[in-house]
Symmetry: C2
Subunit: 246 residues, 2 copies
Amino acid sequence: MTSNNPPDHKAISALRIERPQNLRELVQDAMREAILDLRFAPGERLVERTLCAQLGVSRTVVREVLRFLEAEGLVEITPTGPAVTRIKPEEAEQIYEIRMLLEGMAAAACAEHATRADLKILKQAIDDLGTARDTGDARLSMKATARFYQHVFAVSQKTVAWKVVESLYVRINTLRAMTIRLSNRPTISVGEMKRIYAAIAAGDPEAARAAAVAHVQEASAAAQRTFAELEAAAAEDRPLTKENLS
Amino acid sequence: MTSNNPPDHKAISALRIERPQNLRELVQDAMREAILDLRFAPGERLVERTLCAQLGVSRTVVREVLRFLEAEGLVEITPTGPAVTRIKPEEAEQIYEIRMLLEGMAAAACAEHATRADLKILKQAIDDLGTARDTGDARLSMKATARFYQHVFAVSQKTVAWKVVESLYVRINTLRAMTIRLSNRPTISVGEMKRIYAAIAAGDPEAARAAAVAHVQEASAAAQRTFAELEAAAAEDRPLTKENLS
DNA sequence: CATGATAGTATGGTATACCATAATAGAACA
DNA sequence: TGTTCTATTATGGTATACCATACTATCATG
């Protein structure tokens, strides 16, 4: 019963063992999430030994993670040590500008290439976004949005651009979280996302691009409003910190 | 002789002490340069203890640097450990596509905002590029080019986009270095760079954008040729490694 | 009260030790 | 000769120790 056929590569892939995440990976995920959730405020010092105690790991792991987050732009090294990056208005504006270019490009390409199966996945993400919006669940809104865009970039085969956009997202996500805290105002417009989806479904690249750009423009305007509110608060001598954000 | 004037902030800034680079920073620079110079080939395993011996530092420093380079995309973690990232043709294509958008945008904005002093700096970089080209010095060519672009992005106040483009550059720089090795063919066209400069100097944003895009398109075509040559070499069962690249 | 000196503590930078797992080499066996 | 087993070495993951410097609190002095 010996067979001369080469091994079935699909069968071998199905047997592939998923390696458990090591401590470094776990801490990386935890730290990124904590920063995005504003559990560490922008500008807050990240003291290694304190993080060790909070996370229950050694300084080695903490330091390696800080290096990674530093390269990602979530953490900056100040003269007194690592701190959560503080995003400036000019930087945020630039980030939205780049997103307009890249998301517009991806939406247009997606409109050209999406299959029925793709549209189904995109629709599901939009529906999930609507549900999350109705229940006021900001975290789920963000996840549904990310899922939508991740798929748009995947369909249009622009994985590198997605990596770039994703890294820009994490840098402005603290700003979005602050917007929500300040105003209890959602930062994701379901209507705009629906317009992007509709243009993609209609196979209209230019409409998809325009809808994606308009959506980012609106997000940019919301961010400017947040900065204005932050400045007003600072001028009243009550800067917003981690404590008074909750 | 006591003065009631507040301290002169400019004078204080002039006294600011420049901190010496720590080991980690030094190793980071050294490793990045070594990767870009093809002293480590794409795909080559980066064994920590070997790097420690070569660099004369402890594993702590090496590991932290690897984390940073990993986040930058220069290093990937394989199941057997860290290795220099191997760039695929589809990725390179996407990188050039993003560069077209971002460099086009920056060139157009630079054409709108450049002062006489800016043009002088840009011209100097172009002249230096010409000199480096004439003397066949590829490293100086790359440096002059980087200086040109860094200033274009600075004038157009797109520092975030420059950070993105810079990180994309380091990922394709190994490809450029390979192109030079394979063909002794320069990858930077002085003529194209001059056209970008001329359009900026003429204050013509659309011409600047078009010239910048054309330049990236030419670089992309050169990269595809390099990949074709790498594939041909592999098909002849003589894959290009660090040894036979020199 | 302001300033300077001193001691103690906190913190980042770096090296080293320990451990688990993977990889390799060599020996034994069919 | 090919396969299996065992011992050894290599390697990454993680913790801990040590050191230099920065920061803070306290005390002494003018």
